[in-house]
């Protein structure tokens, strides 16, 4: 993985020193909250309902064991013994004292981490496929390009005060696991007919109060032009994006109001001026960054097949976990493991300090020292020999993280919601917990099959409800929580925005409504191979509306 050079170290240390001074001056009363707030936000320090919140950047979701241990140390020393992994592949601490933030940032800097640009109207943490470098269906590892974008966008003087925040996602596979079409810029790394690497470029996707699917404005951008083209996009946005209305300031609105064709023309025109400047990436520089992401030296472990076969016979739990949480690796003797942070009744995305340490140990022992955070709020061990899967499974059972529910209905994305978040209108976590308990039976979950359920506690859509096969949006109505259900959303290569199915449900009726939707699907699907999303696309909303609302329609 990427290692800081001297410049990176001194830059991050200087930023910590700067914030330490700002915090001291704030606590001494030398600067006001109005002066301090933008400074703390530039370093990921928010104020939530109960306390400050620190959001730490995990570039493209990649961690070493040493870094994960430090995240555990911070949770234990400065917080309440846990951290919350987010849909942006970051981690949030919910209870740090302002006075402790500089010490936390010192600890992070010691393992080459920081919280810079995790807030504010700048380019945020660049996200990537959590199976990058491991997936069997990958053209090339997208993370070197994410790292190049990270270096380019860190305190970029021209793009530090954009009209609004800006999020970039990169995938190296046709099967999109990074939801690139709901990002401000989505990059799909691919090869042209001659075998050269480049990107399909998508612009103007996003969720929030105005969900939009990104428009593809380039089918193939040579890798050397990545920074010149992204600069062109950002420049057009920075110049023309709306600053008069926060809710219309994202690039998706500019793309929508300008039209994709005209916007493409503007970007290409800007790009024409930039493509042969110092922004052109020399091949040697790209290869130098790629070297940091060189795949681990995987050796043949052909005994794995037999070990897995025997272990499956021996343990039903292991067999179910392999079926659900183990993903095909490009190397036949290896696999990528999804560690579900969605235990039944647990908080989606939360991990305790001791769980993080145990995962760091497993990664060190069996996983080439690498851990990933997925945007679906799980952790991944990307390179595990199949011969070691049983040992990893046993290790996860010991810490309560062997739930075999990856991609099933209880693998729920949920934002922190009104239990923590100052922006939320309704709770998300208890809703996720209640639904997970209702569908706790793994047998039933597997019968239902792949089903992405996503919950947001407000219109900002941190819980990605717009792209949930079943999405839930919490709102406040007459002082009480009410939940709207959307159906048919999807955040993959066939991205779609879910449609509101009808009137919302109070919390005590919501899980029944979800169950009604699932039962309707089960009754109408062609066979078990037709996933919920495919059945919805075939059937439309009508049978689900009928199931949910017919009785009251007749009564009225």
């Amino acid at each position: 993985m990427y290692r800081y050079d001297e410049f990176d170290h001194s830059f991050v240390q200087a930023r910590v020193a700067e914030l330490r001074d700002q915090v001291e001056r704030r606590m001494a009363g030398e600067i006001t909250e109005d002066q301090f707030k933008p400074l703390r936000l530039m370093n990921g320090v928010y104020l939530q309902l109960h306390a400050y919140m620190l959001r730490v950047a995990i570039p493209y979701g990649t961690l070493s064991s040493r870094q994960l241990r430090m995240l555990a140390h911070i949770a234990r020393t400065y917080d309440k013994g846990y951290g919350h992994f987010t849909t942006r592949q970051n981690i949030q601490y919910n209870w740090p004292a302002l006075a402790d933030i500089p010490a936390i940032l010192d600890d992070l800097a010691s393992v080459e981490m920081h919280a810079i640009q995790t807030s504010g109207n700048c380019i945020r943490n660049v996200t990537a496929d959590h199976f990058a470098g491991a997936a069997a269906d990958e053209v090339a590892d997208p993370r070197p390009y994410a790292e190049i974008l990270r270096q380019w966008s860190s305190v970029h003087p021209e793009f530090s005060y954009l009209p609004r925040k800006f999020k970039i996602a990169v995938t190296g596979s046709t099967r999109d696991r990074a939801a690139i079409q709901v990002h401000d810029i989505g990059l799909h790394l691919k090869k042209d007919a001659a075998g050269a690497l480049g990107f399909a470029v998508y612009v103007g996707g996003g969720q929030g109060r105005t969900p939009m699917i990104a428009k593809k404005i380039r089918d193939f951008l040579p890798e050397a032009d990545l920074l010149a083209y992204c600069t062109a996009i950002l420049r057009v946005y920075n110049l023309n994006g709306r600053r008069d209305n926060k809710y219309k300031a994202r690039i998706k609105i500019l793309v929508h109001e300008t039209g994709a064709e005209e916007l493409t023309r503007q970007v290409e025109s800007e790009f024409a001026h930039l493509r042969d400047t110092e922004l052109k990436l020399p091949a040697a520089d790209i290869r130098a960054i790629q070297a940091y992401f060189a795949p681990p030296a995987l050796i043949a472990r052909p005994e794995g097949d037999e070990i897995v076969r025997l272990a499956r016979l021996d343990s039903k739990g292991f067999a179910e976990w392999v079926d659900q949480n183990v993903t095909t690796h490009r190397h036949p003797d290896h696999a990528a493991v999804t560690i579900s942070l969605k235990g039944i009744g647990e908080v989606p995305g939360d991990a305790t300090d001791s769980q993080m340490e145990a995962i760091a140990d497993l990664a060190e022992r069996y996983g080439f020292d690498e851990i990933r955070v997925s945007h679906e709020q799980n952790l991944i061990l990307p390179h595990v020999a199949r011969a070691d899967l049983k040992a990893v499974y046993d290790g996860l059972v010991a810490i309560g993280l062997a739930t075999a529910n990856s991609n099933l209905i209880t693998d729920i994305i949920a934002c922190p919601g009104l239990d923590y978040c100052a922006l939320a209108n309704a709770r998300s976590i208890p809703v996720a917990q209640d639904i997970a308990r209702r569908f706790a039976s793994l047998e039933r979950q597997r019968e239902i099959g792949e089903l992405k359920l996503k919950i947001s506690g407000c219109i900002n859509a941190c819980g990605h409800h717009h792209v949930g096969h079943i999405g839930i949006l919490g709102v406040e109505k007459k002082g009480a929580e009410l939940y709207q259900i959307t159906l048919g959303g999807s955040g993959d290569e066939n991205t779609s925005i879910g449609e509101i199915v009808g009137r919302g449900f109070p919390p005590e009726e919501l899980t029944d409504a979800i169950e009604m939707i699932v039962d309707t699907y089960l009754a109408l699907r062609l066979d078990a191979s037709e996933r919920f999303i495919d059945a919805y696309r075939r059937l439309g909303a009508a049978p689900f509306k009928e199931a949910l609302y017919a009785r009251e329609a007749k009564a009225a």
Binding site: R26, H50, D419, R427, I429, G479
Partner: protein, 102 residues
């Protein structure tokens, strides 16, 4: 009926302005404003405390009395007064002397 709430600057702890004219960590003995004049008085206390860098995010919130105890009208403020509903061992509700409103 209203009370004045904020987060303490140094650690973000949720506080209310108390009947005894100090910022307190539980809502039970918060000072109640039952009329416009008392609301204004509380607002001035809040402005002064913000200016003195004691607290941030100062707000007057609606409350009612339930069995003689102060209960915020909005769920958001009830959660601030108790702690996250999914983590009953965190926040004010984890304190040994915390008594939930029945």
């Amino acid at each position: 009926m209203k009370v004045l709430t904020a987060n303490r600057l140094i650690d973000g702890e949720v506080v209310w302005y108390g009947a005894a004219e100090a910022w307190i960590e539980t809502i039970d003995t918060a000072r109640l404003a039952r009329d416009k004049a008392s609301e204004e008085a509380l607002q001035n206390v809040g402005k002064a405390a913000l200016a003195a860098n004691l607290v941030v995010d100062v707000e007057l919130i609606d409350v009612e009395l339930v069995g003689g105890r102060i209960v915020p009208t909005r769920l958001r403020e009830r959660i601030r007064a108790a702690g996250p509903t999914n983590h009953l061992h965190h926040g004010k509700q984890a304190r040994p002397d915390f008594v939930p409103v029945a």
